[in-house]
């Protein structure tokens, strides 16, 4: 019976694996290949949505 703790780990790992796979393609598109040059990606995002970036600056101030 005790060995069924692995069911918990397997189910959890399964869900997390699925979610990571779901989120991976967009990450590859925009950032994963930019290792060490992530600042460029950040700059582009900021230009794309200045208003939301302003919010992002503020959001951490008020958690």
């Amino acid at each position: 019976m005790k060995s069924d703790l692995w069911i918990v780990f397997a189910v959890t790992a399964g869900f997390l694996g699925f979610q990571m796979g779901y989120a991976l393609p967009p990450m590859q598109e925009v950032g994963l290949s930019a290792f060490g040059h992530g600042d460029k990606h950040v700059e582009e995002s900021a230009e794309a949505d200045a208003a939301m970036e302003q919010f992002k600056e503020l959001e951490n101030l008020m958690k």
Partner: protein, 496 residues
């Protein structure tokens, strides 16, 4: 003959007892599997209903991991400081520092590629003061913000009272105005008024509002990388600035101080008794290492926590890119839940492990439903919102954290319903209230304002930690005084 009958009876009783214990364990495991099944059904069901719910499920499953790790590693900041100051045992503190280091090491590559969801918080002495409040509170309550969650999952009702007190205090403190405005410096009021916030935010009425907009926001929000003139999203910034300068160096120094003050003497005595040579630098190094590996369970939990925290940021960022938004407020609107969004259309969506704001939010939501107008303050009304707890992403994380801790506790036969006494309940309420005030002043708790910030190279993280250590020291001294006074009174009553 009689002896034989007695032996058989004893054996039968023992077998019956064992069978009952086995049955109880089996039931606990079934409960654990039931909890797991519940979370699985929620995830699959909501995803089948609408794809966007996967965003909330990410919070849910990472919350599960956090809960499992916290319970397994007995990850508790309150115990860490209490053990250190009260009985001079540094094991838990060392485990937590190692966990922070490991989290930092896993976060650095995520930061380097520009996919981190972390943002630095303002740096000033307010972080120390907030830490003091929080430190006092967690020692008095007998648990920090995160450990109260996992202890609730173990059936500890004192921990649940701590959470309730912490949540309620935050929600009330964030909205307190009127008489509290008398304690706001004029400069804060003027600075807050000059911010030009939306008309729905009554920024000059509310202590916390004026504290935030009139003081905290005027402080620099920087990481160690930025202080050194590097970009966070670069290899040098993430690894040298944030990881090496911001975490490895200060953490190693802290551990060295702890080694000298709390570990070295005992270690050397034990080794010398065993006839081992502890002289020279090699001996010191061996002692230092023995301290680091003393709490393997917390360190292992810390490693998994670190990996999970970093992956959490990565997956959330990936989904934000996929769905084309930067805050879950947009997502909630798309799926038809637009009540309780902030004036900017946002909700609390940290993108990483966080504890206290979602607790304040569900109380804020409840108070709002009871007729309290609390969307006119900055905390709820301008940034975090008060969405229905049923679809609040960060609340999914906290519920799952409790669930994850319960699952591991049930499997390890450590789940036990513990009823509070009036005295422990009182301390839980007082401690929770202190932590709630500290969390709002410091913009986070032991997780959000210390663990995550330090691991991501935020300069304010260590300041909050410093205050937390000071507060915990005061809390320990207070408790020692209180206990001695109580014992003296009891002894006097017994005529001793």
């Amino acid at each position: 003959m009689q002896q034989q009958v007695a032996n058989v009876a004893t054996a039968e009783t023992a077998v019956a007892k064992m069978t009952l214990e086995e049955e109880a364990k089996r039931k606990k495991r079934l409960w654990a599997l039931g909890l797991l099944g519940f979370f699985a059904i929620v995830s699959v069901g909501t995803f089948a209903y609408n794809e966007y719910y996967i965003y909330l499920s990410v919070y849910l499953w990472f919350g599960m991991i956090y809960g499992m790790c916290l319970q397994y590693g007995r990850f508790c900041f309150s115990s860490a400081f209490r053990d250190l100051f009260a009985i001079k045992v540094p094991r838990m503190l060392v485990g937590i520092v190692i966990a922070t280091l490991l989290f930092g090491a896993v976060s650095a590559p995520i930061t380097a590629i520009g996919l981190s969801t972390f943002h630095a918080a303002p740096v000033s002495s307010h972080a120390i003061i907030a830490g003091v409040f929080f430190g006092i509170g967690m020692v008095i309550a007998g648990g920090c913000a995160s450990s109260s969650l996992y202890k609730t999952g173990e059936g500890n009702m004192n921990a649940l009272i701590v959470i309730l007190s912490l949540s309620l205090t935050q929600a009330l403190f964030a909205d307190v105005g009127g008489w509290a405005n008398n304690f706001v410096p004029e400069a804060w009021t003027q600075s807050a008024a000059a911010r030009g916030l939306p008309a729905s935010i009554n920024v000059t009425d509310g202590w916390v509002d004026q504290y935030l907009a009139g003081y905290v926001w005027n402080q620099p929000a920087v990481t160690y990388a930025e202080v050194l003139g590097m970009s966070n999203a670069s290899v040098s910034g993430a690894f040298v600035g944030n990881l090496l300068v911001g975490i490895v160096v200060p953490a190693s120094l802290l551990l060295a101080v702890v080694y000298v003050l709390y570990w070295r003497k005992g270690y050397r005595r034990k080794q010398q008794k065993a006839g081992k040579d502890v002289s020279g630098f090699t001996g010191e190094l061996a002692g230092y290492w023995s301290m680091i590996i003393a709490n393997k369970r917390t360190a292992i939990a810390g490693l998994i926590l670190g990996i999970a925290c970093a992956l959490h940021m990565l997956v959330i960022q990936g989904l934000r890119v996929k769905f084309g938004f930067k805050n879950a407020g947009v997502l909630l609107e798309r799926i038809g839940w637009d009540f309780g969004l902030s004036v900017q259309g946002t909700v609390f969506d940290p993108g990483y492990w966080y504890v206290t704001t979602q607790e304040a939010q569900w109380v804020g939501w409840t108070l709002q439903k009871m007729g309290v107008e609390n969307l006119d303050n900055i905390y709820f009304g301008f940034v975090n919102g008060i969405p229905n707890p049923a679809i609040n992403p960060a609340d999914w994380m906290s519920f799952a954290l409790i669930g994850g801790a319960a699952i591991i506790a049930l499997y390890h036969n450590e789940f036990k319903f513990k009823k509070p006494t009036w005295e422990t309940a009182m301390w839980s309420v007082i401690g929770g209230a202190f932590m709630g005030i500290g969390a709002r002043l410091g913009l986070g708790c032991n997780v959000g304002a210390f663990f995550v910030r330090v691991a991501n190279g935020d300069c304010s993280g260590w300041l909050f930690g410093l205050g937390m250590a000071g507060g915990a020291y005061m809390g320990v001294k207070f408790f020692n005084w209180w206990t001695e006074r109580k014992l003296a009174k009891e002894a006097e009553a017994c005529g001793l």
